[in-house]
Symmetry: C2
Subunit: 466 residues, 2 copies
């Protein structure tokens, strides 16, 4: 790790200024804002924040950092959940929000190329008039660069896949400042190693993603959404399992436990039944959506699903989904003045009911408060631990429940993170899960970033640390 004390900050700042001019800050407020994500992780501010507005400027900044042996931390919107933007070893935070150009929209090929700082909502606003949409929705209005770096997914992934499936190509600035393009516009390619997929999910540790080409989809002719309550968690999840196993192409199928529904009711003054709840959405032709909805509703009824509320109009669907989208902030409002620690596991669909029921039992037997939500069609669910990070006791208890959930997911053939990434919160969990494969990841990291300057301390323990 570069020696913090050895850095000559004034010279660094001067050299960075030669690249980005005044778009650079060492103000405490700016540095602090860039030293954390949206989670419980201890924060650490970078030494400098730069705001490049072109790919060339990013390359210039990276070259300066390489010359000064200073860590580089890419920053999108700061909405990550595993501490990916925390400047563990100080260094330069590269805020890509100024890379805000929509480079090309190609409706005829159903793809778009955007710079890394463009957010998903901005992209969607730009393509709506052409009858297109970009489906990946991790909740936050994250930047496409950040979503790419964390391999984001969210509510629509069960139908449309994750960033893994929806990035056609990208441009990345490597640790030495070289600008490299991976992938392209072809829908498929067998041309060499899949560098696109290697950078998707690399969390800034292999390079700075500066441009992304993503797949777009036609806005479906028809969409319909529904909410439905169940007597027990197992009933709800078994309905999900059967829906997926039946091959019904649901666009979204989201689970909220009773604690989370209660939180939303209080937060948004709603009166949803306080019970395990599923949110469905169906996309397709008018006839197709009716067919899907009937099939899913029949399965839900067989599992005790009641109180179906349907929404087919845009406004009604938006209102219905708002409850789901508010989940995180509603959970936080249950215990003001604490932090939210959003956890994340994903298991094979057949084990989901078992995994969720056992996890709920742990929470009920614990002192910790932790509402649950899940992108259950993928086997992915989250707890939001509501904890005081300064209470050793609370943190220890949350860790205990979380560690048991991680071990449970792993034992069921699952993964320690379906979508939040590793950051620095899940390095040990990744090692448990991947075993010897971590050595392969480390070899790749070393090959592409021999100085360990790209977001050091994230994803893999590096050779200096291990």
């Amino acid at each position: 790790m570069p020696n913090d004390a050895a850095r000559a900050l004034p010279e660094l700042i001067q050299a960075l200024g030669a690249v980005v001019g005044a778009r650079l800050s060492t103000a405490a407020a700016v540095r602090d804002q860039h030293g954390h994500g949206e989670s419980y992780h201890p924060t650490k501010a970078p030494d400098v924040v730069v705001f490049p507005s072109t790919v060339e400027e990013v390359a210039g900044v990276v070259r300066v950092c390489a010359e000064h042996a200073v860590p580089i931390i890419p920053f999108g919107t700061g909405t990550g959940l595993e501490g990916g933007t925390v400047a563990l070893h100080g260094g330069v935070s590269i805020d890509v929000s100024g890379l805000d150009r929509i480079v090309a929209i190609r409706p005829e090929d159903m793809n778009a190329t955007v710079q890394a700082g463009v957010t998903r909502k901005r992209l969607n606003a730009a393509i709506r008039d052409q009858g297109l949409f970009f489906p990946i929705d991790p909740g936050a209005d994250a930047s496409l660069g950040g979503m790419c770096a964390t391999r984001a997914s969210g509510t629509n992934a069960v139908r449309y896949g994750t960033m893994r499936e929806n990035v056609l190509g990208l441009t990345v600035v490597l640790a030495d400042g070289r600008v490299v393009r991976a992938g392209g516009q072809a829908r498929k390619s067998a041309a060499g190693y899949d560098l696109t997929r290697l950078f998707v999910g690399s969390e800034g540790t292999l390079g700075v993603i500066v441009e992304v080409t993503v797949r777009l989809y036609g806005i479906p002719e028809s969409m319909s959404a529904a909410v439905c309550s169940f007597p027990t968690v197992a009933d709800a999840i078994n309905a999900v399992i059967l829906t997926i196993q039946s091959g019904i192409p649901v666009a979204r199928i989201e689970f909220l436990d009773d604690v989370q529904v209660d939180a939303i009711n209080r937060y948004a003054k709603l009166d949803n039944p306080v019970a395990p709840t599923l949110f469905f959405e169906f996309h397709g032709s008018t006839a197709g959506v009716v067919e899907q909805a009937e099939q899913a509703q029949a399965i839900a009824r067989d599992h005790g699903g009641t109180d179906f509320r349907w929404a087919t109009q845009v406004e009604d669907r938006a209102k219905l989904w708002q409850a789901r989208h508010d989940a995180y902030y509603a959970a936080l409002a249950l215990r003001p003045d604490v932090k939210g620690w959003a956890t994340d596991v994903c298991v094979p669909i057949s084990r989901l009911a078992e995994c969720i029921v056992e996890t709920k039992r742990d929470i009920q037997a614990s002192t910790v408060m932790a509402p649950m939500v899940g992108h259950v069609g993928d086997g992915n669910f989250h707890l939001t631990f509501l904890v005081n990070p300064f209470s050793a006791e609370e943190m220890a208890e949350a860790h205990r429940v979380n560690d048991r959930m991680l071990a449970r997911a792993l034992a069921m053939g699952g993964t320690c993170t379906g979508e939040h990434g590793v950051g620095y919160g899940k390095i040990a969990a990744l090692e448990n899960e991947a075993g010897e494969a971590v050595a392969v990841m480390r070899a790749i990291k070393q090959a592409l970033d021999p100085g360990n300057l790209m977001n050091p301390g994230k994803v893999v323990r590096t050779w200096q640390e291990s």
Copy 2:
């Protein structure tokens, strides 16, 4: 590159024998059979062929090769098209056909784990009774290990994706004999670098794939297929473009040019109209398939499509598709005693008509014979050059037409290979396409295979060669 002359073959054979016993051959016929694929590429036999039957045996063989500094060439069914199995520098061919165990079929999670030597048809036979199928169909009855290594796709990719989208995890033997698992059974994961996608398409240059977990799909409630002729190539391809842009979820949409249809008519004694032809297949619910088929037929009619022949019964569909599946051998039969050189490009869908029309024009102005087929829903198409590989003149002409097609695809934002891979036939084309990204590929190759023993001379020129 290891010095061929320096190798002590008897010691190598003895050490390999200690691992695989008698399942080893140096017979010329066996070596020759393992020194080529199904294409025009000059062949070279390995020094030894081994037939391991367990993962441990593969690891043992690799360790022996590492100790002796001898190249390792993984071999599936030998049906590759870019010379991937040719033992350019001699060495040991690892025939994985003995890794033939179906490890697990998990209908409840819609996935299966198989050893690398299991072929796609065997997998499909094993899961059919459970109402499941594995969609990737590259034509040949290839091994899952080989399909994984080449990132295979084929006729169903337009609906179900390629091996890239359908491999959940894999086990690989690295260059030093370590056995590493990547991915798992979860449908999505953000746990570290995407090693699964790195090994998918690595063509044996980063490790020997020994086990693969793939996604399975429910056999659709309804399937329907159709063939349709068009007045011109442009009409046919414009119908494809509009079908895709309309979001009709076709399961297959295949193009055959007039030359290829004529070849099939002669080969299979059929009487299809000798004209540009599309094959369609639709999967879904009974109502959904009718809806899709009506929409696609309307688009085809608008582009002059005539002579619709429909098939909904299993036998009729099989008969209809047999014509398409025979394409390669039918093409070869047009000029007996020559070799087939199957080329492969893929372009963004909006450029497909232009790319195909210009390529057809080149062929018509050339002395070379080259029927055309395409997985056109993906923007992917092939020529089969029918050439005498010993005629410098014919080969030069085929290369000229091919080079122009590659350049054309690249200029249109496409790729030099949609599905056949790089092997040793397309290294220069990959360099043209990927530019600086090839240096990243080379760095990864060097990190994971510092001795350059894993299928040397394929995909990337290595540091020794460059």
